[in-house]
C-alpha cells in the first residue's frame, strides 16, 4: 500500500480546504463578525498546519497508485475534510456540539442538505456561506478539482484514474479526453459555467448577490442548504422556476454538456439515461400535479400553481437536492408515494446528484427482463444494451453488487436509527436513512421538509453521517475503510 502518496493527496486536499474556507473568513471580516472570523481563522490555521505536516512527512512518494489505494484514499480524504470542515461551525458557537457540526458539514460536502438546525436565518453570513459553499465543493468532488489544477503524479497521470473512479458517481466512469487533467478541467468548467448562469438568472429575479450565490451553490451541488427556514418557498415563482430548471440541469450527466459544447447533439439525444431521466421527471410531475389538483385532499386551486410546486418538488427530490417550496409531507399519499420512489432512483450518473442513479436503475431493469426471458428461452444468448452499445457483463455484475451493498447499508442504518428515542414512527426512521443515504435531505413525517435532524441521538447522527458520505462516494470508498483486509499489508 502506498501510504506516502495517500498522505500527500490528503495534504493537498487539506491545502485546498484552507483555500475553500478563505471566502467565508473574508466575509466574516467584512461583516465585522469577530467570533465567526476567529473560528474560521483558527480552522484555516489548523488545517494549514496539518497539511504542511503531512506534506513534509510524505515527501518523495512514489506515484504508483492502484484501485485499492484510490478507494481508501478517497474515503479518508472525505472523512478528514468533514472532520476539519466542521471546526468553524463548532468554534463559532452556532452549533451545540461537535457531532452536530460534523453532521452539518458532512451533509454539506455530501450535498445532502439535511440540517440539525431549526432556525438558519439567525446564523452569521460567513457560516451560511460556508454551509452553501460546501455543497459546491462536494458536488463535483474535491479530488477532481485537484486533478484539474495540480499534476498529482508527474507527467503521467495514468494512476489518477483510480481517484476519479472512486470519487465520481456512476457505474462506468471514463474519461472524456485522453488526458485526465483536461477531463477534470472540462468537468469543472461545465460546472462553473452552469453555476454562473444560475447566479445570473437568480440576480435577474431580484435576489441579492449573496443570496443568489448561496442558492446557486446549493442548486449546483444538488445540496439543498437554503438561507431561509422555509427553503425556497418564500421566494417569487420566477426564482422557484429558475431553481427547478437548474436543479434538473445539474442532475444530468456532465458528459452530455461536453458533447453539446462540441455540437454532438445527436449523441446527446441518443443517451438512454437522459431520456429515462426526462421521462421519469415529466411523468412524475404530471401525476403529482394532477393528484394535488383533484380528488380528496387536493392542496392547490389552479393547475399552474399545482404544476409549479409539483415540478419543483420532483426536481428537488429526483436530483437529490432537497430544496422545497411546499411542505410536501401534507400532500396526498399518492403524491408522497411518487416522491418516495423518486428518492430511491436518484439523479443521473456523472452528475452532481446522489442516489442509486438512473443508469443503474435501467441496468437492473434490463437485467431483470433478460432473466425473465431466460426462463422462457433457456438457451438464448442476449447481451444487454445501453445507448445501443452492449454493456460489459462485468458492469452488470458490479451493478448487482452495488444494489446488494446499497440495500445492506440501508437496512442496517434503518435498524440502528429505529432504536432512537427521538424517532416516533417507522416513516421517520426509514425516510431519515433514505434521505441521508441518497443525499436528498428532507424525508417524510419527523424529518419532513419543515423539520430537522437536531433531536436524533449521537449514535443515529454518526450512522447518518456515515450514510451521507457513503451515499456521495457510492458506498465502496467508505465501506473499505471498515474492512480490515484493506489495511493489511500486501
Amino acid at each position: 500500500m502506498n501510504y506516502k502518496m495517500m498522505g500527500r493527496l490528503n495534504a493537498m486536499i487539506f491545502g485546498a480546504l484552507c483555500g475553500f474556507m478563505l471566502p467565508s473568513f473574508i466575509l466574516c471580516l467584512c461583516d465585522k463578525d469577530g467570533q465567526a472570523a476567529l473560528a474560521f481563522g483558527i480552522s484555516i490555521a489548523l488545517t494549514g498546519v496539518l497539511a504542511l505536516i503531512l506534506a513534509i512527512l510524505c515527501r518523495g512518494a512514489s506515484v504508483k497508485f492502484y484501485a485499492r489505494e484510490g478507494l481508501i484514499c478517497v474515503g479518508i480524504c472525505w472523512l478528514g475534510m468533514s472532520l476539519l470542515g466542521a471546526l468553524p461551525f463548532r468554534l463559532s458557537g452556532c452549533f451545540d456540539s461537535y457531532i452536530d457540526a460534523l453532521f452539518e458539514i458532512a451533509s454539506g460536502f455530501s450535498t445532502t442538505g439535511a440540517s440539525v438546525l431549526s432556525d438558519v436565518e439567525c446564523l452569521p453570513r460567513g457560516i451560511l456561506f460556508w454551509r452553501s459553499f460546501s455543497h459546491w465543493v462536494g458536488g463535483m468532488g474535491v479530488l477532481i478539482f485537484l486533478l484539474a489544477i495540480v499534476p498529482i503524479s508527474g507527467k503521467n497521470q495514468g494512476f489518477t484514474l483510480h481517484l476519479m473512479r472512486a470519487e465520481s458517481p456512476g457505474p462506468d466512469v471514463g474519461k472524456l479526453v485522453p488526458k485526465m487533467r483536461s477531463t477534470a478541467a472540462i468537468l469543472y468548467i461545465c460546472y462553473l459555467v452552469l453555476t454562473v448562469l444560475n447566479v445570473v438568472f437568480l440576480l435577474i429575479g431580484g435576489m441579492s448577490f449573496f443570496e443568489a450565490l448561496c442558492t446557486a451553490f446549493g442548486t449546483a451541488g444538488t445540496g439543498g442548504f437554503g438561507l431561509k427556514n422555509d427553503s425556497i418557498g418564500g421566494y417569487s415563482p420566477y426564482i422557484q422556476v429558475v431553481t427547478t430548471v437548474f436543479m434538473l440541469l445539474f442532475g444530468v450527466n456532465f458528459s452530455c454538456y461536453f458533447l453539446i459544447a462540441f455540437g454532438k447533439f445527436r449523441a446527446v439525444l441518443k443517451d438512454e439515461e437522459l431520456r429515462a431521466y426526462g421521462i421519469i421527471v415529466l411523468g412524475s410531475t404530471l401525476a403529482i400535479a394532477l393528484r394535488n389538483l383533484f380528488g380528496a385532499g387536493a392542496v392547490y386551486g389552479t393547475f399552474g400553481e399545482s404544476l409549479r410546486h409539483a415540478a419543483f418538488q420532483v426536481g428537488s427530490i429526483m436530483t437529490t437536492t432537497g430544496f422545497s417550496t411546499a411542505d410536501f409531507d401534507l400532500w396526498p399519499t399518492f403524491s408522497k408515494a411518487i416522491l418516495a420512489l423518486l428518492m430511491l432512483i436518484g439523479a443521473s450518473a456523472g452528475s452532481t446528484g446522489g442516489g442509486f442513479k438512473v443508469s443503474r436503475f435501467l441496468l437492473i431493469l434490463k437485467g431483470a427482463r433478460r432473466n425473465l426471458s431466460r426462463v422462457l428461452h433457456p438457451d438464448r444468448v442476449k447481451s444487454i444494451r445501453l445507448c445501443g452499445k452492449p454493456v460489459d457483463e462485468k458492469v452488470l455484475s458490479n451493478t448487482n453488487g452495488y444494489l446488494a451493498a446499497y440495500l445492506a447499508i440501508l437496512i442496517v442504518s434503518f435498524l440502528i436509527v429505529s432504536f432512537d428515542r427521538a424517532v416516533s414512527d417507522m416513516t421517520t426512521s426509514m425516510t431519515a436513512c433514505i434521505a441521508c443515504f441518497n443525499n436528498i435531505g428532507p424525508g417524510f413525517s419527523g424529518v419532513g421538509p419543515t423539520r430537522n435532524f437536531g433531536d436524533f441521538s449521537v449514535v443515529s447522527k454518526l450512522v447518518l453521517i456515515f450514510d451521507m458520505l457513503a451515499g456521495r462516494l457510492e458506498i465502496f470508498p467508505m465501506l473499505v475503510l471498515l474492512s480490515p483486509a484493506a489495511w493489511r499489508r500486501a
Binding site: 492502484y66 508527474g154 503521467n156 495514468g158 484514474l161 483510480h162 474519461k175 485522453p178 488526458k179 483536461s182
Partner: protein, 453 residues
Amino acid sequence: MKILIAGIGKVGKTLVEQFAEEGYDLTVLDTNKEALERIVEICDVITVNGNCASMEVLTEAEVGKADLLIAATGSDEINLLCCAAAHSLCPTLNTIARIRNPEYSKQVYRMRDVFSLSMIFNPERQAAAEIDRLLHYPGFLKRESFAKGRMEIAELKVEEGSKLANASLTEIGSLLDCKILVCAVLRAGTCITPAGDFVLKAGDRIFVTATANDLSALLKNLGVVHRKVRSAMVIGGGLGGYYLAESLLEHGIHVKLVERDAERCRELSALLPKADIIYGDGTSQKVLDAEGLRDCDALVALTGNDETNILISLYGKSYGVPQIITNLGRVEDMNIIDTLPLGCVVSPRKLCCNTIVRYARAIHHKTGAAIAVHSIADGQAEAIEFVVDMNTKHFGEPLKNIRLKPNIRIAGINRADKTEIAGGDSIFGEGDTVVLVTSRDEVLLELNDIFAD
C-alpha cells in the same frame, strides 16, 4: 499533439508508456478489451475498443484531430489497412506502420509511397542490424552513434581487476591515453550522472562518449581482445534470426542457425542457402555441443522466449564463447538482469521505440528539435542530439561558464569539420549539434531546456 496508437502488444505498450510520460494526448485502439482496461489503469490515455482498420472505429477515436498514427498490431496487413483508412479520413495525418514480414522487406519503400506512410518500422530487422554492428565491434555492450556515426556513446562494464576499477574520472584520460568522457554510470540499478571526482568500482556499467577512433584506442588500452568474429551461432530462426543470418552472411560471417521447428528449418534453408540450418532444440546441451559451440566466436540467443535466451547465454558463457548477445523482449528492465553475465542485451522493441519517439518529437517541435534520441542505462537516462540554432541561448560561451540543470551532461559537440568531446573550454555555435546525456525525469524537448537559467 494527439497520437493514435493501434495495437498494444509489446511495442505498443512501450510506446504508450513513453508518450504518456512526455505528455501527449493518447488514444489507444485494440480489439482486446482487457488489455485496454489494463493500460488505462497505468497510463493517462483514452481507449477505443475495436478493429483499428475500420473507419467507424477510427472516427470514434477522432482520427481527424490526430497528428500521428502508429499501427503496431500483430498483422502487417491490418497495419497497412489501418494507415490507409486513417489517411483517407485525415489527409494531413502522419502514419507509421510496423511491417515485419521478410517477404515485404524488399518493397517497403514502394509501400511507403503507395500507402503514404511517413515511416515503416521493423523491430526484428532493426535488432538484427544492431546485433550485426555489435559483432563487428566486440568489447562493448552497446553502441549508439550520433552525428552520422562520427561520435558514439558506448556502454562497457568495469570488470574486476580492470584499469578502470577504483579510478576517478579525472584520472582515466591519462590512465588510458585517450580522450573519453564518462557521461553516465549505472551502479546497482540506479543511474548516476558523475562528477569529476567520481570513483568507478568493479561491476559498474559505464557509458562513455568518444570519437570512433578513440573508442578503438580505449579497447586496446583496456586490454580487451579485439578478435574478429568469423563464425556465429544463432539460436532461434524466427524473423529476427532470419534477418540477422542474412546480414551476417552478407558480411562474410559463417552462420549456424538453430531452429526447433522442422517446417521452419526447411523454409530457412530455402531462403538462406549459405547458412547451416540446424534442426534441433537450442536449449539442449547436446545439440549445442554437437554443432561445435566451443569453436564459435559468437553466440546470439534470439528465440522468442526471454527465459530461454537467458539460459542459452549463461550456458554459452560457461563454455567461454568470446562474444555473447542476448535478445530480451520483455524482462530487460528487471534489475537482476544486470547481475547475470549475459553479454550484450538487445531489445527489439526498445530500439524501434527510440526511433518512433524521435520521429514524434521531431514533428512536434519543428525547430530546435532533437535529431537523435537514444534511451540508455536501462531506460533511466537518455542521450539526445540537438541542433544549435539562432534561438539557442549561450552559444559562443565556454561550457565551464554555463550553468546546466542538475543531472545533465554535455557529452560532445559536432561541427561540420570535426567532432569534439566536451571539455570546459568547448563552445558550441550555430549549426553545430550537441549530444547530451540526461538522467532527469522530465523530458527535454529542446536544447534551451537544459540551461539552469
